[in-house]
């Protein structure tokens, strides 16, 4: 194995090499850093690379290993962090002008966990401002491009994290998922992304978007890495009162390779929202995946969850309502940007927020403020919260018959940059398959299940009952190991045109 090939590996493969001392953490970092710099001008996955931090962490891992100390399994593994996680001493902006210059005085719980486990922080990744978006085009610091086709979006909002893992700039990444922001970019980039059950992972130190929907989860290259990351992230944290006190299993123990006896239900409403079907190639890949699971010993069937047809309006009332309240804290007083030269406090608030927030964030604050305002609360927020109950009940009923539900992660493959930026509703519809899972608080994941005729990845979504991460991982692992879609890797090349050729090779090879 040459050093240049290290960025092609998974975290568990790197972990084995590190443990056997075949490579040092410093060598791993150096290989990934070269890759990062090589492809970053094309992709713009990162908003803040953190070379020095990573170098110190790598040196610390190597020293501990040299002293013969027992190290956690992912010590020395390169990690990318979405810019939504507070990182002590490292600027954290949520890709918003309003948080420019904010240096958190503390770490998010999940960041603490990653530090304690010896992961190397390669940097903060690009995202839609305050995680509001499905393409990473709403970032205040520019777009990220999809490594499979530079004219396309990587998905969003965790688009930088997904692109970084796909292109070998990091091997694992953390994202957040409020309506699909881990699963949809994982799908668009051909990697694995998992949103845990609401409450499985602490949200402490994660910049809030919609608090009843937000969850933290990993983006990885294969299912085993995903399970390893979940081992590290999950668990009760007293600083997040909604995090659940429940034992954390070893998720890798679920990776038996067998789907025998699993009851798998294809959700009709994932394939067709309000009568409009997903793309033909997406549908074909998902149906083929269900067939494959059946060949692997699963019992498969179809199920209808009728209230999923109302997911988009329910979500776009609840999420902006919660966001309008959460984002009230950005007022130019305690941190971040303040509009200069104002003499009146209300004027200061309004100018600061007008200049600090981008258009999508303002749109959602406006929508949420309106939905919660006097006279409209019952018609919008209350109504949406009641329909949310009906959506959850549909899922509960489906889980009486099935162990795991499946469908596409997104109705399409990665779309083109600029294709949906002028039409908010069209953009919102790209999360139609993932949003219901957040509304119901369930675990969901995406893994690659094929490629379109253009060579773009297609994602299969799995959904489990509350705390059913192990069942989901078991089905995902059996599918992955029998198909091998996760093994297709991109090779970085110098030019845009060169990369297109490289993509074509990868998808026919």
């Amino acid at each position: 194995m040459s050093r240049g090939e290290l960025p092609e590996l998974t975290a568990h493969e790197l972990s084995d090499l590190l443990r056997s001392k075949a490579v040092s953490a410093r060598e791993v970092l150096s290989a990934f850093w070269s890759r990062l710099e090589e492809v970053e001008p094309d992709l713009h996955s990162f908003v803040l690379p953190c070379r020095e931090t990573a170098q110190q962490q790598a040196a610390a891992v190597d020293e501990r290993r040299a002293r013969g100390e027992p190290l956690p399994p992912l010590a020395g593994v390169p990690l990318a962090l979405k810019d939504i996680f507070c990182t002590r001493g490292i600027e954290t902006t949520c890709c918003s002008r309003i948080l420019k210059g904010f240096v958190p005085p503390y770490d998010a719980h999940v960041v603490e966990r990653c530090r304690a486990n010896g992961l190397l922080f390669l940097g903060k990744t690009n995202m839609d401002e305050f995680a509001m978006g499905s393409s990473t085009e709403n970032s205040a610091v520019g777009v990220t491009r999809n490594p499979w086709d530079l004219d396309r979006v990587p998905g969003g909002s965790s688009g930088g994290s997904a692109a970084a893992v796909t292109a070998g700039q990091a091997v694992v990444a953390l994202g957040t998922d409020t309506g699909g922001s881990i699963r949809q970019p994982a799908s668009f980039c051909g990697i694995v992304g998992l949103k845990p059950t609401y409450g499985r992972v602490s949200r402490y130190g994660v910049i809030a978007f919609a608090s009843s929907l937000d969850q933290v989860g990993p983006l990885t290259r294969d299912v085993r890495d995903c399970a390893l990351m979940l081992n590290l992230l999950a668990g009760r944290d007293p600083r997040d009162a909604t995090s659940i006190d429940r034992p954390v299993p070893d998720y890798t123990a679920a990776l038996s390779g067998s789907a025998k006896g699993l009851r798998v239900g294809l959700v009709r409403e994932f394939m067709e929202y309000q009568g409009i079907g997903v793309d033909e190639e997406v549908e074909a890949a998902v149906r083929a995946a269900v067939d494959r699971l059946r060949e692997l010993g699963a019992e498969t069937g179809e199920v209808s969850l009728p209230h999923l047809d109302y997911s988009i309006p329910v979500y776009y009332i609840i999420a902006p309502a919660e966001a309008s309240s959460n984002l009230a804290r950005y007022d130019g007083v305690q941190y971040g940007y303040r509009s200069p030269g104002t003499t009146d406090i209300i004027d200061m608030y309004r100018k600061t927020r007008d200049e600090g927030f981008g258009p999508e964030v303002k749109r959602r604050i406006m929508l949420g403020t309106y939905a919660l305002s006097a006279g409209y609360y019952d018609a919008y927020y209350l109504k949406a919260s009641q329909v949310r109950t009906l959506i959850r009940r549909d899922f509960d009923r489906a889980f009486e018959r099935f162990d795991v539900l499946v469908g596409p992660t997104s109705p399409t493959v990665a779309f083109r940059l600029g294709e949906k930026t002028e039409d908010p509703v069209a953009m919102y519809l790209s999360d139609v398959c993932t949003i219901p899972v957040n509304l119901a608080g369930l675990p969901g994941m995406s893994l690659p299940c094929g490629f379109s005729s253009d060579g773009l990845p297609i994602g299969l979504q799995l959904v489990g009952p509350p705390f059913g991460e192990e069942t989901m991982l078991r089905a995902a692992y059996a599918f992955e190991q029998s198909t091998g879609y996760h093994l297709r890797r991109l090779r970085p090349v110098e030019s845009h045109e060169g990369r297109r050729r490289a993509v074509a090779r990868a998808s026919t090879g």
């Binding site: 503390y106 927020r353 406006m366 403020t369 109950t389």
Partner: protein, 95 residues
């Protein structure tokens, strides 16, 4: 339910946003189109359905009331756009 430009201004004030004329016009159109999309919820019978506020039922979560370390004033003020001694400074609130 049509949202007028005047209502958009009122919501902007509630949200402490200041919209340019262009934003005001854009938001009026876009918010109306989004609100129109919401109308379909009216078709659903929700009589007697409890609203869902959290995904997992959690009752009161208590902890011991014990002092623990917190941010020092210096750390808390380190990111302030403007400060005076140990306080955040803002434009005059009262005349």
């Amino acid at each position: 339910m049509r949202l007028t430009p005047e209502e958009v201004d009122h919501v902007a004030l509630l949200a402490r946003l200041e919209l340019t004329a262009r934003e005001r016009e854009q938001f009026t159109t876009q918010l109306n189109s989004i609100l129109e999309h919401f109308e379909q919820l009216r078709q659903i019978d929700t009589v007697g359905v409890p609203p869902m506020s959290h995904a997992v039922e959690v009752s009161n979560v208590f902890r011991e009331d014990e002092p623990a370390p917190s941010l020092s004033p210096e750390e808390a003020l380190a990111n302030a756009p403007d400060r005076a001694d140990d306080c955040f400074r803002v434009p005059r609130v009262l005349e």
